[in-house]
């Protein structure tokens, strides 16, 4: 008849990070079960739990010893074990290793496969001894994201371990590491609580004001919250994560309520809720109609002076909300473009540029997705969502309360009177996107993050996933179920947007070689630069274009061409700096002055011819064709003022000039050309 006892281990640490408590409990429980299973020790029901102060595992009905058993050990094959009936060195070595004799051996298998075996008797072992031997290894195998050393530590751990209660029935199991020895007591506020026997654990702890099971703590807390809810006629703003955290911070929960000045209710509710949660671990309170009331609810340890504590907490809450209100008010005086500019000072990830860079990439990717897959969306809305997808990261509010990222963006855009779809989209990109416009930006954002991380080599493997890419990938893929796009193309394009991607590096390498070759062929540096600045990489075409530039440069017309281009280019650069927009195409009805009508008419006349010539890659001739516009361009600039007040006229004029510049850009960026003497 085997004897069975209850096993109890309880670890007292200095206050453990709440976010690690559950992992600690799980790791300890699994470690113990693993050892018991490996040693073939029977055990019954297992319970476990923890708080930031202690973690415990209770295992019922653990056998006090292992059973006697026979272990079969395979030795050499028969034909190598014996030579002419005599044992070989191989067999003697095997026997020596297991301290056995020739008479102990047995055989298994037939013919070629016949081999020597030993049936070794394993004597019963004491469970207590096994635990003494193997417990430290369980602790050493636990691993957490952040660990520390302390003077007594034998191995790193998230916080110093200060006591171990380890009992098997009524007897202490001796274990020692990091200069502590297992005891038959545990700690509460540095006082010892003696545990006479494992089975008495729960009772003794309860008598000492420690509710060991979190579920029980939760029931106590929630029933007290319920009383408050009835008294104040409303409900707390329930939050599972916050509840878990406060239940780990308090071993005998008590409820405290407090209030704050009504003036803070001018802050958006979500901001108040988030501030109290993240900074104070307090719950907010709403009335029956769901409107926020100026109350908060806190979880504390039973026995403190509720009145005093509540008053002190109110003071802290006021100060926090005062800060939030200050940040909120100073943020809303600005505008999203101001904050976008400040993104240049925030790193997205080291070596992957700033958040501003990321935003720019996301914009390009979003545009690419719409254009390549002909997705029916409101293009302007999509591009605005992309443009404002990151701005709130540089607001004071989000700097102080990072959890508000996304929510703050939406709230601010609403305050500033932006289209509601843009505001919701900006929040959606951070959380869960709903409309198609947001989904596109969301996908662009996720792909950019994943591609960037792979460029850095931070590739998830097994449980190694420092950047949480698996989650990003899952979210990306889920959202792709609602939209018909080929990710392959987008990923390739995304790669090309990173300056330090292997793709760009290869590209830059080849371009630098091409530059070299062209230089050796006698082209001038500025000529080469003007044609390489154009976004395609077709060496055949590059050569044709640079030859055209070279040829026309020797002619009288060249100066005319350059000045014409520069006039157009300069004004467009100015307009772009001011953030001016373009129409999709020139709108004839907005052409007012005869000079702009004439320029447009003549532009249309040469356009077909120009495109034809381009198709034949006769770039020299194409430049000559553009040159025909020179007179019209000069007259246009003499008589027409581009940057007029009237937005439609202005936009239209810019669009016209852009169409002309795009023509030039199909051949070269002439702004790179150095003109002697002017």
């Amino acid at each position: 008849m085997k004897k069975k006892l209850d096993l109890l281990i309880e670890i007292d640490t200095e206050p453990f990070p709440a976010r690690f408590v559950r992992d600690f409990v799980k790791g300890l429980e699994e470690g113990l079960k693993r050892v018991l299973n490996e040693e073939r020790i029977d055990f019954g029901e297992v319970s476990s739990c923890g708080s930031v102060y202690r973690v415990w595992v209770y295992i019922k009905d653990v056998s006090t010893n292992t059973e006697e058993k026979i272990k079969v050990i395979k030795g050499p094959k028969f034909k190598t074990a014996f030579l002419n009936g005599n044992p070989t060195d191989a067999l003697r070595g095997f026997l020596k290793k297991y301290n056995a004799d020739l008479k102990d051996i047995d055989y298994e298998g037939e013919g070629e496969e016949k081999r020597v075996i030993l049936n070794i008797k394993i004597f019963p072992r004491n469970t207590e001894e096994i635990l003494m031997e193997r417990t430290v290894e369980i602790f050493k195998s636990l691993s957490f994201e952040k660990m520390m050393r302390w003077p007594e530590a034998d191995f790193p751990f998230p916080r110093p371990i200060r006591n171990i209660l380890f009992m098997f029935g009524a007897k202490r199991v001796k274990v020692s590491f990091s200069k502590i020895e297992s005891r038959n007591y545990c700690l509460k506020n540095d006082k010892r609580i003696k545990i006479s026997s494992s089975s008495e654990f729960f009772k003794i702890m309860k008598n000492n004001g420690v509710i060991l099971k979190k579920g029980e703590r939760e029931n106590i807390f929630l029933s007290k919250v319920n009383q408050v809810e009835r008294r104040l006629k409303g409900n707390i703003v329930f939050d599972r994560d916050l509840l878990d955290e406060v239940l780990e911070l308090n071993e005998n929960p008590e409820v405290i309520t407090g209030s704050f000045s009504e003036k803070f209710l001018q802050l958006p509710e979500e901001i108040i809720i988030e501030v109290l949660k993240e900074q104070q671990k307090f719950f907010c309170f709403k009335n029956m109609r769901g409107k926020l009331l100026p109350y908060f609810v806190a979880c504390v340890e039973k026995g403190i002076n509720k009145k005093k504590v509540s008053k002190n907490m109110e003071r802290v809450v006021e100060a926090r909300l005062e800060d939030a209100l200050f940040f909120f008010k100073s943020d809303i005086e600005k505008n999203p473009d101001y904050f976008n500019e400040k993104l240049k000072g925030i790193v997205f990830q080291e070596k992957l540029g700033t958040l501003f860079d990321k935003k720019e990439r996301v914009k390009k990717l979003s545009k690419f997705i719409i254009e390549n897959f002909k997705i029916e969306v409101e293009r302007e809305i999509t591009m605005k969502i992309a443009e404002y997808s990151k701005f709130d990261s540089s607001t004071k509010l989000v700097y102080e309360f990072p959890e508000l990222s996304g929510v703050a963006g939406r709230i601010y855009l609403e305050v500033w009177g932006y289209d509601e779809r843009i505001a919701r989209g900006v929040e959606g990109v951070k959380k869960n996107p709903s409309d198609r416009e947001t989904v596109i930006v969301y996908i662009a954002d996720k792909i950019d993050t994943i591609v960037g991380s792979f460029i850095l080599g931070k590739i998830p493997k097994g449980s190694f996933d420092p950047l949480g890419l698996k989650k990003e990938a899952d979210n990306l893929l889920e959202s792709c179920f609602s939209i018909d796009i080929d990710l392959k193309k987008i990923i390739e394009y995304s790669f090309s947007l990173y300056k330090n991607s292997p793709l760009s590096e290869i590209y830059n390498f080849l371009i630098s070689r091409l530059e070299n070759i062209l230089k050796e062929k006698g082209f001038r540096f500025d000529e080469i630069e003007s044609v390489l600045n154009i976004k395609n990489f077709n060496p055949f075409d590059v050569l044709k274009r640079v030859e055209a530039i070279r040829k026309i440069r020797e002619e009288e017309d060249f100066k005319e061409l350059i000045t014409g281009f520069k006039r157009v280019n300069n004004i467009l650069n100015q307009a772009e700096k001011k953030g001016e927009n373009f129409f999709d195409g020139v709108k004839e009805e907005f052409l007012e002055k005869p000079e702009e009508k004439k320029l447009y008419d003549n532009f249309l006349t040469i356009k077909d011819e120009f495109d034809d010539i381009l198709n034949n890659r006769d770039y020299y001739k194409a430049l000559k064709v553009i040159l025909k516009l020179k007179k019209d361009i000069d007259e246009f600039f003499d008589k027409v003022f581009v940057m007029v007040e009237d937005e439609k006229l202005r936009k239209n004029r810019i669009t016209l000039l852009k169409a002309i510049r795009d023509g030039f850009f199909k051949i070269a960026d002439l702004s790179k050309i150095v003109v002697e003497g002017g």
């Binding site: 709440a18 003077p151 007594e152 911070l249 104070q280």
Partner: protein, 282 residues
């Protein structure tokens, strides 16, 4: 309890617990950690216990004396126990009792809060200690200093004296703290706060400060090359404060900022290594 009595009480408590009672170090700095008593004395392999008050200047937190909770200059009471004793937490809690906080009445929480100083190349794990939701102390087990893993792990306790005084005196505005009978914190500091805020946000000479930084940096290296570790460290402190000023003024782009931090951290490491070399020879 007056502000001055709070300081005296804490010093008395830590003196009784074997601390050397030191003084703040008279070069501008952002935190007590930069004091010689912490930076150097946590590096070597000798035990050490110290308590001192450090006036700490943070241009970033300047608010023209208008914010009831934020200050350009505040006072930290700093305690180093090296090696960290196993009952560090208990010793700390007893110090709260010693200044009149009844632990059984209040909600005391240790919330995970790990600490890093990018310029000193230092980091540690620990908590912010809260009494009734108010953060009053940073409690840190140092792991590295000057970019060097510490042989002996110390514990650093940084008491926010103003916060504690506000708590004990029940006042809502830092300037209302009674420093001594008839003298308030505001009497001493309010005008200073205003003027230093004005100076840092409106009258800083950006180019000159950048020049200063470069000079301080070079001087620190020159001095170190001469084996003059402590003067070199003074210049590191000057670099650090100049950097903080430039940063608060908004004079630095992100890349520049990182670059400054990297330079100061590199310097801290060289000084730390040199100090250890000397210690080992001695």
């Amino acid at each position: 309890m007056y502000f001055q009595d709070l300081i005296l009480k804490l010093k008395e408590y830590w003196k009784r617990n074997g601390c050397f009672i030191g003084e703040g170090y008279d070069v501008e700095k952002g935190a007590g950690t930069f004091n010689y008593y912490t930076f150097f004395k946590t590096l070597d392999s000798k035990p050490w216990r110290v308590c001192y008050v450090e006036p700490s200047r943070r241009p970033q937190d300047a608010r023209y004396g208008e914010n009831p909770n934020r200050l350009f200059k505040h006072y930290q009471l700093q305690v180093i126990l090296k090696p960290a004793p196993p009952d560090s937490k208990k010793l700390y809690l007893k110090s709260l009792e010693y200044i009149g906080i009844d632990l059984s009445e209040h909600d005391i929480k240790f919330l995970e809060d790990d600490w890093t100083s990018p310029t000193l190349g230092a980091w540690g794990l620990g908590w912010e200690v809260r009494v009734d939701g108010l953060e009053i102390t940073q409690f840190t087990y140092f792991q590295a200093m000057g970019g060097i893993e510490l042989k002996i792990i110390p514990v650093e306790l940084t008491y926010g004296l103003e916060r504690i005084a506000m708590f004990l005196q029940g006042v809502n505005n830092v300037f209302d703290i009674e420093w001594s009978k008839g003298v308030s914190y505001g009497d001493i500091h309010k005008r200073q706060e205003f003027e230093f805020s004005k100076f840092h946000f409106e009258f800083l000479s950006k180019e000159k400060e950048i020049e200063n930084f470069n000079y301080f940096y070079k001087k620190a290296i020159d001095l170190l090359n001469e084996g003059l570790i402590f003067p070199s460290y003074d210049y590191l402190l000057k670099c650090s404060h100049t950097f903080n000023s430039l940063d608060a003024y908004g004079a630095l782009s992100h890349e520049e900022r990182e670059n400054y931090v990297k330079r100061i951290r590199g310097l801290a490491k060289r000084i730390a290594l040199r100090y250890l070399e000397n210690e080992e020879e001695a």
